[in-house]
């Protein structure tokens, strides 16, 4: 078993929290994990990614080679497309549709959606809206994790446990909102795939 994941977004959007939740779940289930992330200058509103590799066998490279990712999980619609060279032809692109517009030449959202739809295996959802419904707009990253969860070979209950651990210091309200967000994201994908 192996799942190679590219997490994509803009600095500050919370992809490292997604990675941390998966990481906690992976360690608990004794999977091997390597997760390379971006710190420093790019975190100031630039494009950021994290390479997250899970396997039941030891993992060599911290970086995922082109064409090998099983999943691109993007919290921003344009950013997911940036890493398409990494996607395995059978892999999934799971992306938020709410744009993060901090550049002067940000493209028309419709043009981005057109490109997303060209990918055979894709799921696109308005994670920000779903997160608000779940109780906190800030949980949209966790909605995305939920939406991508069917493609990550970790038991959903272990991911839930990862969320509990990750937010445990922030109080039960925050834990509950994020669990709700996680489940809402997963439901979206499950319905979509039926």
């Amino acid at each position: 078993m192996k799942t190679d994941i590219i997490l994509a977004g803009v600095g500050g959007q919370g992809i490292l929290s997604i990675a941390a939740a998966i990481g906690l779940a992976a360690v608990k289930t004794n999977l091997y994990i390597k997760q390379a992330e971006v710190h420093g200058m790019s975190q100031r509103g630039g494009d950021v990614q994290s390479n997250l590799r899970l396997s039941d066998k030891p993992i060599s490279s911290d970086l995922i080679p082109h064409g090998k990712a099983d999943l691109i999980l993007s919290v921003e619609p344009m950013e997911g497309l940036r890493y398409l060279p990494y996607l395995n032809p059978k892999g999934w692109l799971v992306t938020n549709t709410t744009p993060f517009n901090n550049i002067p030449d940000y493209p028309e959202v419709d043009d981005i959606i057109k490109e997303i739809k060209k990918i055979k295996n894709h799921i696109a959802l308005d994670a920000d809206a779903i997160a608000k419904e779940a109780g906190s707009a800030r949980a949209s990253n966790i909605v995305m994790l939920g939406a991508a969860s069917p493609f990550i070979e970790i038991e959903f209950s272990d991911l839930e446990e990862g969320i509990r651990q990750l937010f445990s210091t922030k109080g039960t309200d925050v834990v509950d909102v994020n669990l709700k967000a996680l489940r809402a994201g997963r439901e979206f994908s499950q319905k979509y795939m039926k």
Binding site: A26, E37, S42, G171
Partner: protein, 536 residues
């Protein structure tokens, strides 16, 4: 013991804590920052009373670590590659003084310049200083190497460098810990003049260093971290240093046709290298950074067997390695993957919305209009992003503190007014001495200390002179009439521009301090306060 999920940086920190570390000294800099941050957040480090505060710069950090080592305790010093330039003076001299307690230097190199102004390779510094280097290939090795480096330092009587690159520093994996070593007791050097580098003593110490080199060689030769694996074919022998080993294994996996030397402990283990060289028809060197091993193998005349690497174009001459680059070097097919659609635009980093530096640049650009462009010397920090649109406000970023001193030189050449833009943390790092030069010369420069009360770019570490910038400038001798504290907010734009214009026209040293807390640390502080209030 449970596995910990740690960044390469964090694994080094945990390894050092478990190895009986007594103090860590550092100045923040990507990709090394998380080492100190981990020790600061560690309950274990707090219980062990490990010394763990930021220093004003890398030189002061290095020197303090030397002092702790002098007193017999194990000390670690951490910074990024260009930080070693700042600390080069004490660093090179510690291989002459020798150590007492184990002294470990962790340097974060940044090939591909993810967050740096060059991609210098610290292994050259270690060779220059004649000290061993450990270059971990994964997080477990980062832990194990930090754990063993202090004893190695004590054994060979020089500091040991751990060289890590950005990719490993910022990549997480599972790490298994070893048992905790107790800290050393205070113990003075046996020779009370060991650290007195008068020429007569330094000459003796230097000979002692030279006589220790064979021991360093043999320890590298026997090191568990240098592993030679024989292949079925003698066509190609591959030397893979540090993280390059992972990219190699990603490609060759269980394929055993190559001879592979995993090289993570320097000086180069000559016997192992020679054994591979003599058996194989050709050699390929995979190393992140400069072609250090490749150059040594080739020699100046390059008369031996073919040695491939960065110098002959088998690998790119610059930038970090990755699995695809290594696959190409092995002659394997590389998947290109899908194409990035044209709709995807570049998204460079930018100053945060609400950041005080933004208002400072808006004010400065307005005030500079009458003088034209090309006169603003900036420095290293978030405000370096003022080079990009929409501000296009600065003309230089060279090294920590260079803004003030470059402005002096430009003013000397007749470029008056010349302006320096520097942050509060960079000012206390290396700007204060330059300001003293300016005062002594009465240089016609305007220094803008954009004070966000933190070290922002690296994530908001404490600034050395919080709340004391004005008194430092006065103490250095700047005329108090020409020191102004401004609030960089839109509503003060007109008056801020007026102050800047007035000081730009002044034929002496002015210091303008736009002062507003970093928007990131502000938000973090507010969240903390809110949480604390909820608890009550």
């Amino acid at each position: 013991m449970d596995k910990l999920l740690l960044l390469g940086d964090e694994a080094i920190a945990q390894g050092a804590i478990d190895a009986g570390l007594s103090g860590v000294y550092a100045y923040p800099g990507t990709p090394s920052t998380e080492i100190m941050e981990y020790v600061q957040a560690s309950k274990q480090a707090a219980e062990l009373n490990i010394r763990r505060k930021w220093s004003a710069n890398e030189k002061t950090a290095m020197e303090s670590a030397i002092g702790m080592s002098y007193a017999g305790k194990r000390a670690m010093v951490c910074f990024k590659h260009v930080g070693l330039n700042v600390a080069a003076d004490p660093f090179l001299n510690t291989s002459i003084t020798g150590v007492n307690g184990g002294l470990v230097l962790v340097v974060g190199d940044d090939p591909s310049m993810h967050s740096s102004q060059n991609e210098q390779d610290s292994r050259f510094y270690a060779k220059f200083a004649m000290i061993p280097v450990l270059e971990p290939s994964n997080q477990q090795e980062a832990y194990d190497m930090a754990y063993s480096a202090f004893a190695l330092s004590e054994r060979v009587n020089v500091p040991v460098m751990i060289r890590i690159t950005t990719r490993l520093a910022h990549s997480r994996s599972g790490v298994t810990r070893k048992s905790v070593t107790t800290q050393n007791e205070i113990k003075l050097p046996e020779n009370p003049r060991q650290y007195v580098l008068l020429p007569a003593i330094a000459r003796v110490n230097y000979k002692k260093l030279l006589s220790t080199l064979p021991l360093m060689d043999s320890l590298a030769e026997e090191s568990e971290f240098n592993v030679l694996t024989k292949g079925k074919s003698n066509r190609l022998g591959i030397i893979a240093a540090g993280i390059a080993y992972n990219y190699l294994m990603e490609n060759i996996g269980a394929d055993d046709q190559y001879h592979v030397l995993k090289l993570t402990h320097y000086p180069l283990p000559e016997k192992k290298v020679r054994e591979m060289y003599e058996q194989c028809d050709e050699i390929l060197v995979l190393e992140d950074g400069y072609p250090l091993i490749e150059e040594m193998l080739k020699g100046f005349l390059n008369t031996g067997k073919p040695v491939h690497g960065r110098l002959d174009g088998t690998l790119p001459r610059d930038g970090e390695l990755n699995p695809a680059i290594v696959a190409k070097a092995l002659g394997m097919e590389v998947e290109e993957g899908m194409v990035v659609p044209e709709v995807v635009k570049r998204r460079p980093p930018s100053l945060c919305v609400g950041c005080g530096h933004r208002d400072m640049y808006t004010d400065l650009n307005e005030a500079m209009k009458e003088y034209g462009t090309g006169r603003v010397f900036a420095d290293i920090g978030c405000y370096t992003l003022g080079a990009l649109p929409p501000f296009n406000a600065i003309n230089s970023t060279v090294d920590m503190g260079a803004s003030i001193t470059m402005a002096i030189g430009a003013a000397d050449a007749g470029l008056v007014p010349a302006v320096a833009v520097i942050g509060d943390s960079t000012f206390t790092h290396s700007g204060m001495t330059g300001l003293l030069d300016a005062v002594n010369l009465n240089a016609p420069i305007t220094v803008i200390i954009s004070d966000n009360s933190t070290t922002g770019m690296t994530g908001g570490q404490d600034s050395s002179a919080l709340g004391r910038i004005v008194s430092i400038c006065k103490g250095i001798g700047v005329d108090p009439d020409h020191i102004h504290v401004l609030t960089p907010l839109k509503k003060f734009h007109e008056e801020n521009v007026a102050v800047m214009k007035k000081e730009l026209a002044y034929q002496g040293v002015s210091v303008i301090i736009p002062q507003r807390e970093c928007i990131q640390t502000f938000a973090r502080r507010k969240r903390k306060e809110k949480k604390a209030a909820e608890k009550k």
